[in-house]
Amino acid sequence: MIGNDPARLDAAKRPTPSAHVPLLVVGAGAAGLAAALAAAAAGVTTMLIEEQPVSADLMALDVPLHFGQRMARGAGNAALMERVLDSSPGLAEAYERGIDVQLGVCVWGIFPGSAAAHDAVPQLVGLADGARSWFVSCDRVIVASGARDLAIGFPGWEKPGVMGAQAALQLMQRYDAFTGTRMLVLGGGPLALAVVEAASAKGLTVVAAIEAEASSRHDDSAERFQECGVAFYGGWVIEEARGSVEVESAAIVRLDETGKPAAGSRTVLDCDTIVMSVGTVPNVELLDSIGCRMQFEPLRGGWVPSRGNDTATSTPNVYAIGDCAGLGADPTEEGRRVARAVAASLGMTAFAEAEPRIDRPHAADRSVQRARVWMQAQIAASGLDVCVCQCEEVTRRELIDLRPPRYLRATVPDAAPGGRNLQALAADGPLNQDQVKRLTRAGMGLCQGRRCRDQIQMLLEAAATSEPGAVPLARHRPPVRPLPLKVLAADEESAALRDHWVAWFNIATQWLAHWEAKPVPFAAPGQAPVIGDSE
């Protein structure tokens, strides 16, 4: 009998995990693999979770990357597994080293454990594949969730064929399942160059690479694109993606010295794919969803977790490495470092001595700055009546005017009072993306804000005339992958949880007429709970 002892009840409510591992590594990119291999070599039993190959259902939602419907259909899951394995030699090594590698499995949440001395329970990690979800408990988590695509909208960017650079690279290099043939690349930096090189290696046509920044002060873009045989347009932006359903061509324009589209410069390029390659964004969704302290690093991709020298985040037992912890780091070095820290924290005294601090500067990443240049240029070229949130159909203007969402304007005809715009809201206190998204619904959709979060951030910064990073990060919430109810549903539930389930609080007097005085309902031992009602 658990009775009303809350500590025992809390413990009994907890689900029984499918497995327990000392170390769970999220993501088998370069950093995650290096960490898993180093931890295994140090004798730490390790589970390595990799969401690739991503299911076609998720890809169709542009989750976790902006796939733009350019993935080949019909390749079986087994075939995709093979390709993922073949494209990543480290994975085979991980299997050989006895690491429990799980491919095609996503991590959708992390739930903290208990540090109580009498009731120490490890944290739970929520995992899922296409069919079911389950929990694994672990003593330490290393998050190596990489980076995602940065999107900046333009007219027609919702058409199939507009995609992100990370997604294009994955489809070309990892899945061998890219269906585009003629590609326009937006961006003139190293990421755009990587896309061009991957496309060339696949024998695909790149019709042009365009870069909003007029002069490429920071890199030798023009020459390098030209070496690949690709036309480079410095100081140009995309005016519109054209096509009846999918992308068939793109109109691009040159910006003049005042930043406005130059008359007569419009050029139409035939293409079936437009790859947004302006920059990437650290994939902090999992870290932010568990409350890790975050900070804005303008040369490392923006919002990243605050970390100690041992890569530990502010959340106990959770470490972050690789691109998700800041772009430009050396993944192998971070992998080694975190493995050492984890081994030491698990009591392996051989690793007790911390690695000397390395103050080697990270390679500066210009994604944050490039994104703002592009945002401004795209607004100059295409104005404010451009969709910013595709899921909820919110335009830049609707966001800036803080307009109630379309579903509401359809239901309540006079639901659009004037004057209450972003500037007015800013007068009541610093702008906050979470508050704005509740009012406009921008960022509230099925892609979980992956395609619009950064654009909204930049539009809020502009409205508040504040610096990059001045507007706080919009919070991420689990599940950080969209999971069907039937997949998320707990098929195993503890008896304590089932028996103590209430819709609201188990306070008998709450459901009786409040105008009739009743004594405080101290529960008799073993008393059955009331069902409770709605709030």
Partner: protein, 393 residues
């Protein structure tokens, strides 16, 4: 006690009435005060509606409250009274998966009926017509021709804007650190932005009320707990979106999302130095399970977010809504975890308590803090509402 609110001109560093807490109760009170011509300032430690006020099921059906009639009278008027949309939709459905659930719903419905509200039983066929994705295993349902649901976040913002439209003032990102008294009366509050004077003080700060009241030497017994909800992608709209059942509560939003909550809530340590975490817990999988059982035809719908919020409960689960006798110019407004739906009425009650000293339209005598005068000191432990672990850091 009446007449303590003076009609003096607006003071820049204070206000006739200060409301501490920019949640739905405090902002409704602020709006009612402002529209009745009282100079009012709402102080909020963060952003309006950030806590439980913006993170709840949005139900507007609370027949157990003496404010029920006023709640029912006001909601259909709120959009036009406020001038901003709340997304209010009338009526609620209850779906019972077993006899015990049905019996519970009927007990509450009987309270509504006693107050003049009507309802109708629904057989499986009628239920299926209204909620096509409902379970075949449901034993029946009830159509409540009262109550309804609204969008919590939009409603909170509507109160804030409507209050400002009537010259009420809102000061966000301002934390109250002390309460100033002179000659037995409250004279103002100290904040991290300096001192604000007032003639009457309203404490409507949810779980923080206990700490604030303690500054007045007044004990308000409150225990904090975490409540949580999940939300799916949009689905085709139901005729009536407020559908409870199978041990969970919630609504289909006007956009079409299913937003549902419930479960064995986690009591939080009341003495935590750090604010409790608002993150959701593993309960979300059990919520998904119950929602999929209730609506098998919607089991394919993808869960895209979850919320958690911190609410306070009194020992009997009923509000503390009263004007104190010492000091006699302070009003306590804790809605004991059920604040959103009643907010149009509770705000009006708080206005009258602050302005006139008593509520004219409802008998609030049973909700006075005095009922806890003889509460044993270990009430929280005796309710089983304490936890001794530090789970959640």
């Amino acid at each position: 006690m009446s007449g303590t609110v003076s009609a003096q001109p607006v003071r820049t560093r204070g206000s006739s009435v200060i409301v501490v807490g920019g949640g739905v109760t405090g902002l409704s009170a602020g709006w009612w005060l402002a529209r009745s011509g009282v100079d009012v300032l709402v102080l909020e430690k963060g952003v309006v509606g950030w806590e439980a006020s913006g993170r709840n099921g949005g139900s507007t059906a609370h027949p157990f409250s003496p404010l029920f009639r006023e709640e029912q009278r006001l909601w259909p008027e709120m959009d036009s009274l406020l001038g901003y949309p709340t997304e209010y939709q009338a009526h609620r459905l209850r779906v019972a998966m077993n006899e015990a659930q049905m019996a519970h719903y009927m007990r509450i419905i009987a309270l509504a009926e006693r107050q003049g509200s009507t309802w109708a039983p629904l057989d499986q066929r009628q239920l299926k017509e209204l909620v096509p994705f409902v379970s075949d295993a449901a034993i029946g349902g009830v159509m409540c021709y009262y109550g309804g649901h609204a969008n919590p976040q939009r409603t909170v913002q509507a109160f804030a804007w409507a209050m400002q439209d009537c010259s009420g003032r809102l000061q966000q990102h301002t934390t109250v650190t002390g309460i100033c008294r002179h000659a037995g009366r409250v004279t103002g509050v100290m904040t991290d932005r300096g001192r604000y004077d007032c003639d009457v003080l309203v404490l409507a700060a949810g779980p923080q009320i206990a700490e604030l009241a303690a500054m007045l030497g007044v004990t308000v017994p409150l225990a904090s707990a975490r409540v949580e909800m999940i939300i799916t992608e949009p689905l085709p709209r139901l005729r009536y979106g407020g559908v409870d059942g199978n041990g969970i509560y919630g609504r289909q939003t006007l956009r079409g999302n299913l937003a549902y909550g419930g479960g064995p809530h986690e009591w939080l340590s009341s003495s935590a130095a750090e604010p409790p975490r608002r993150e959701s817990t593993f309960i979300m999988r059990s919520l998904a399970k119950r929602l999929a059982e209730l609506f098998p035809g919607a089991a394919h719908a993808r869960v895209i977010r979850s919320w958690a919020g911190i609410v306070e409960n009194t020992p009997d689960g009923r509000p503390v809504l009263c004007r104190l006798s010492d000091p006699d110019n302070a009003v306590i407004a804790s809605m004991s975890s059920v604040g959103f739906g009643l907010s149009p009425a509770s705000g009006r009650a708080v206005m009258e308590l602050a302005r006139d000293g008593a509520c004219s339209f409802a008998d609030l005598s049973a909700l006075h803090l005095e009922r806890f005068n003889t509460l044993p000191a270990d009430w929280q432990a005796r309710m089983g509402w304490q936890r001794d672990s530090v789970r959640g850091q």
